[in-house]
């Protein structure tokens, strides 16, 4: 199946200066597969109790969003990446980014995620969770803070599901720009691993972009998370597909990816296919959870 890609830009949601360089690089890699540029987006959040919320978006962007402008202005991006910058106004970061996705029909959305001390109910933090659940485009969540210093190999763990294609795109994009190899990896638990790996290989070949060297590995283990974590140590970047689509958000954001992120110090990118968002059942679920 060939993935219909948008010619729109790759959007990057920026919340902190520390994340810009890393996220812009990943976005640049992904954008190089298509025609689009990279657009850095910050959201000027005006909450319900802010007296400033009654101003028009235009006024807020012009007069009351200094910190957002400052963030964008100071954002240094890789020299070879073409970058646009944009400030949006919304009641929350997630709402702002979702509106940006609806308006621009981007090729993908890239956001950062930072491990937090505080324990919350959310799997990856409320903003990322909302995007994973609702952003109708391919979404990449990159753990920021740990960036690979030079990439020689990209690990692509696979176990079927709808997100393989999306993960494969990022793997090819990153490998191509770094002259790196992609390792397709699967853990044998129920006899499907060989099929999963073949599917992953096919997904990589299907990506509309340069050829990259691909290798495959299957390992037998009862502990999927542990096996992926062990394997990750031998690579620079791990691109994980979100787990299978489930009726609950928790399932979608996935417990295996969440545990892998916790236990490895590699650069980890979670990939989620935009096609899983939408459909009447999904909308109903969304309505009930509101």
């Amino acid at each position: 199946m060939h993935h219909p890609t948008s010619d729109g830009p790759v959007l990057v949601g920026i919340e902190s200066l520390d994340d810009v360089q890393q996220l812009a690089r990943t976005a640049g890699d992904i954008a190089s597969l298509g025609a689009g540029a990279v657009r850095l987006v910050t959201v000027a959040v005006k909450q319900s109790d802010s007296p400033f919320r009654v101003f028009s978006d235009e006024t807020i962007v012009n007069e009351f969003a200094d910190s957002s402008h400052e963030l964008l202005d100071r954002a240094t991006t890789p020299a070879d990446v073409d970058v646009e910058r944009d400030v949006l106004v919304a009641r929350s970061a997630a709402r702002g980014l979702l509106a940006a996705v609806r308006e621009t029909d981007p090729a993908a959305l890239v956001v950062g995620w930072r491990a937090q001390e505080r324990r919350t109910d959310a799997v990856f933090g409320t903003t990322v969770d909302a995007l994973v659940e609702r952003a109708p485009c391919d979404l990449y969540v990159e753990r920021v803070g740990q960036e690979a210093n030079g990439v020689e190999s990209v690990l692509l763990p696979v176990a079927g599901g709808p997100h393989v294609e999306t993960a494969a795109r990022a793997a090819v994009a990153i490998a191509a720009r770094n002259d790196a190899r992609v390792f397709v990896f699967s853990v044998e638990t129920s006899g499907d691993a060989a099929a999963f790996v073949a599917e992953g290989r096919e997904a990589l070949a299907d990506v509309d972009g340069p050829e990259v060297p691909v290798e495959t590995t299957v390992r037998e283990s009862d502990d999927v998370t542990g096996a992926v974590v062990d394997e990750a140590a031998a690579h620079d970047v791990v691109v994980l597909g979100a787990t299978r689509k489930g009726p609950l958000r928790r399932k979608l954001a996935g417990s295996v990816p969440r545990r892998v992120v916790d236990r490895t110090d590699r650069t980890v990118i979670l990939a989620r296919n935009g096609d899983v968002v939408g459909g009447p059942l999904h909308d109903l679920g969304r309505l009930l959870r509101r």
Partner: protein, 401 residues
């Protein structure tokens, strides 16, 4: 009703009231000091500390009047039982939580007032139309008056022919004059009222002297306060305009934070008035202490985060417009306390920010957003009445009360 159920409800009502006070302390107290932080007159942590103390003091000394209105002024003929108080508080809290979760503007004053009216009617009480009329009039007047005062203040500060060494002290004198007249429950009243002002206390303590119906001593004390305030800020601005303005911002922030505490605590404690005072026989100060503690802790724990987020916005608003928004905030909050009318402090500040903007030409507001904000105010008020009414009926049926 059995004793156990009664005490469980008392406990639940107390916890909800405390939580409401906590939320009010954390959320509605950031505007007073945000401009001062934005102007680097005070640090965020020190501001949060001051806000907690001042708002709690305001709640203790000025909270009684609005608390009484919420607790007994909205419904005639019945007193709020423990179940009714709990239901009213839970309804109001649910609305506020809805606002926080969805990001829609849901003013606490509207949610609490609506919920208490709904529950009271459900209890079989009669609507207190006279109170509603007064509250409605006050609410309707808040935007034009707050906006108008902010407009005038901003105009005054923008005039080139009035130097800041005159304009700022002039505003300080107005604030000082009002401070002399604010109602405090700690000041013993010579006439036996529950609350009294400094000016009222002094005028009641000396032989009465009225000219044309105006109490001379009150006027003299007020003018004295105004003159002292003028002189104090005048000296500071003359030494350094920048320092003078910063001092005024901190002083203004302090009195606004104090007023904010006094005007908001009643929303948390009002529903418990009858339960605590009539049924449990506790003094009024006991209930206000509960609310003040909640506000104090809420401000200390919640305000720093919010202050950090909002101080930048006020810094961009500029000192003149910030002052222009805070002056009406103080005046109207004190007026509401004097009249015992529950108000949403944020609504006053919104109108002030817009009014101050109009003084500089265009306010740059979005009609759609204002319409949505107004819509949610009405929605909150209307639906909280219905929900309060229905919820009490449901609880009463389930508990067989």
């Amino acid at each position: 009703m059995t004793g156990l159920v009664f005490w469980v409800l008392v406990g639940l009502a107390t916890v909800t009231s405390f939580a409401t006070a906590w939320a009010l302390g954390a959320n509605s107290n950031s505007p007073p000091f945000a401009p001062a932080i934005g102007a680097n007159a005070v640090s965020t942590m020190r501001a949060a500390f001051l806000i907690g103390i001042l708002a709690a003091l305001g709640a203790l000394t000025q909270g009684g009047s609005i608390s009484e209105t919420v607790g007994s002024g909205l419904i005639d003929g019945v007193a709020f039982t423990s179940l009714a108080a709990t239901t009213g508080l839970l309804t109001a809290t649910a609305f506020m939580a809805f606002g926080v979760y969805t990001g829609y503007p849901v003013p606490a004053a509207f949610a609490t007032t609506g919920a208490m009216v709904g529950v009271g009617l459900s209890l079989g009480g009669a609507p207190a139309f006279e109170t509603y009329r007064r509250i409605a009039m006050f609410w309707a007047l808040v935007p034009p008056v707050s906006g108008g005062l902010a407009y005038l203040t901003a105009k005054l500060l923008r005039r080139d022919d009035i130097p800041e060494t005159v304009a700022i002290p002039l505003l300080a004198s107005v604030v000082g004059g009002i401070v002399a007249n604010i109602q405090l429950s700690i000041i013993p009243s010579p006439t036996g009222a529950a609350q009294e002002s400094v000016a009222g206390f002094l005028s009641g303590s000396v032989p009465s002297l009225t000219v044309a119906g105006v109490d001379v001593v009150t006027v003299v004390v007020t003018l004295l306060f105004a003159a002292l305030s003028f002189q104090f800020i005048r000296r500071r601005t003359q030494a350094s305009i920048d320092k003078g303005i910063k001092t005024f911002l901190v002083v203004l922030g302090s009195v606004v934070a104090f007023s904010s505490g006094g005007s908001q605590v009643g929303l948390a404690t009002g529903p418990l008035e009858n339960l605590y005072r009539a049924e449990l026989g506790l003094p009024a100060i006991g209930l206000l202490t509960l609310g003040a503690t909640g506000i104090l802790l809420g401000a200390w724990m919640g305000a720093p985060r919010l202050l950090q987020a909002t101080s930048r916005e006020y810094a961009q608003l500029g000192i003149r417009r910030s002052i222009a928004a805070l002056v009406p905030g103080f005046v109207i909050a004190q007026l509401a306390i004097t009249l015992g009318i529950p108000i949403s402090f944020n609504n006053i500040i919104i109108s002030g920010v817009i009014g101050g903007g109009l003084a500089g030409g265009s306010a740059g507001v979005s009609r759609r957003k204002i319409a949505m904000t107004l819509g949610f105010w009405f929605f909150t008020l209307g639906v909280s009445i219905v929900v309060g009414f229905g919820l009490y009926r449901l609880f009463a049926t389930v508990l067989g009360a």
